[in-house]
Point group: C2
Chain length 207, copies 2
């Protein structure tokens, strides 16, 4: 896996949604599920579900359905979250601190193992179980650990410069919480979590 071409981000996002639901089903002792049943509460068409999976192989049994446990494991492998993944976090403000303890990342096997800030008052303090380090030392950490993913929670004015800085040290994927469009080399993967934009959507459609 990992060689598939032209898979849309929509498909990948849905895979994560399927995975979460499969994990819930698993906990509830459900062994087999059909595309119709798994999608009925997820705002997804059964054919969409089958199509999404079809990009990666065959996972069901005709006339029967899908084995909940083994499909979950297959999706984990497809996404690359079947093993633990270490990431760093930059910008230990209130939002950054909240994310360090956010359990949703751990549920997909992602661990925030280091965090960085430029504020001397914060450097050296502890957040959850990790020590806030000086952003100036991030290069060393990235080199030593090989980490290539960063969660960026710095103020919007600094987002572009910090992003450029960490990409210089080998970061290849950024989860960006700053409401800014980062300008970076094409090979760097950026996902924007734009909370105000989502709220703006709600406001617009409410009228």
């Amino acid at each position: 896996m990992g060689k598939e071409k032209n898979i849309s981000t929509e498909t990948i996002k849905r895979l994560i949604i399927y995975l979460r639901y499969l994990d819930t089903l698993n906990k509830n002792g459900i062994k087999i599920i059909s595309s119709e049943n798994i999608t009925s509460l997820l705002n997804v068409q059964p054919s969409q579900f089958r199509k999404d999976l079809s990009f990666f192989g065959e996972f069901g049994k005709r006339g029967v359905g899908y084995n909940v446990d083994s499909l979950a494991n297959s999706i984990r492998k497809i996404l690359g979250v079947n093993r633990e993944i270490d990431v760093v976090l930059i910008g230990v403000g209130k939002l950054g601190s909240a994310l360090i303890q956010y359990t949703g990342f751990k549920k997909i096997n992602v661990n925030i193992v280091s965090c960085f800030d430029k504020n001397p008052d914060k450097i050296g303090t502890m957040v959850e179980n990790i020590r806030v380090e000086d952003i100036k030392n991030i290069g060393k950490t990235l080199k030593r650990t090989g980490i290539r993913i960063a969660i960026l929670c710095v103020p919007v004015e600094e987002a572009q410069s910090v992003a450029k800085y960490i990409v210089g040290f080998g970061i290849k994927g950024i989860l960006n919480f700053a409401p800014a469009t980062l300008v970076l080399p094409a090979e760097v993967n950026v996902s924007n979590v734009d909370m105000a934009s989502e709220l703006g959507n709600i406001i617009y459609y409410l009228k």
Copy 2:
């Protein structure tokens, strides 16, 4: 405005991105901008920009471009953020507390004016300038204020039941931070901020 049909959420999200950039241009004293220049740093095609605006009217001058200040105001009106909008927040954990002080909401004229929790230890405490209230009293607040938008930051196990509960008191739009697909009446607008899913995307495409 507000009567346009079939405007995609993609268009609305881009409008917010345009608006932010226009505000920055405005601060920098730039008066006029072309579709080519405004989109050059935003990963958007100039024709996409013009198309997005065309759903709502004509805002530019041929051969010249767009007046930065007046286009910003037009977009604010289109989105409905030209006036202050009050919302409530439910679930005052670390993430909820961080969102109460998040400046990105204020920048689009959205104010979190009340917050609620079910934990007796939290009820009565202050977060930024607002008092944590008992979720049982949310009906009164919503009735008194007419607020119809809620930011939902409760644990994933409770998201569905709390969402249903507040919809019963007139909530029509929910910004949902819980990694769960809420099942609600069709007229309720839900936007999901799914941080783990965005991170999952980065992990997938990194391979």
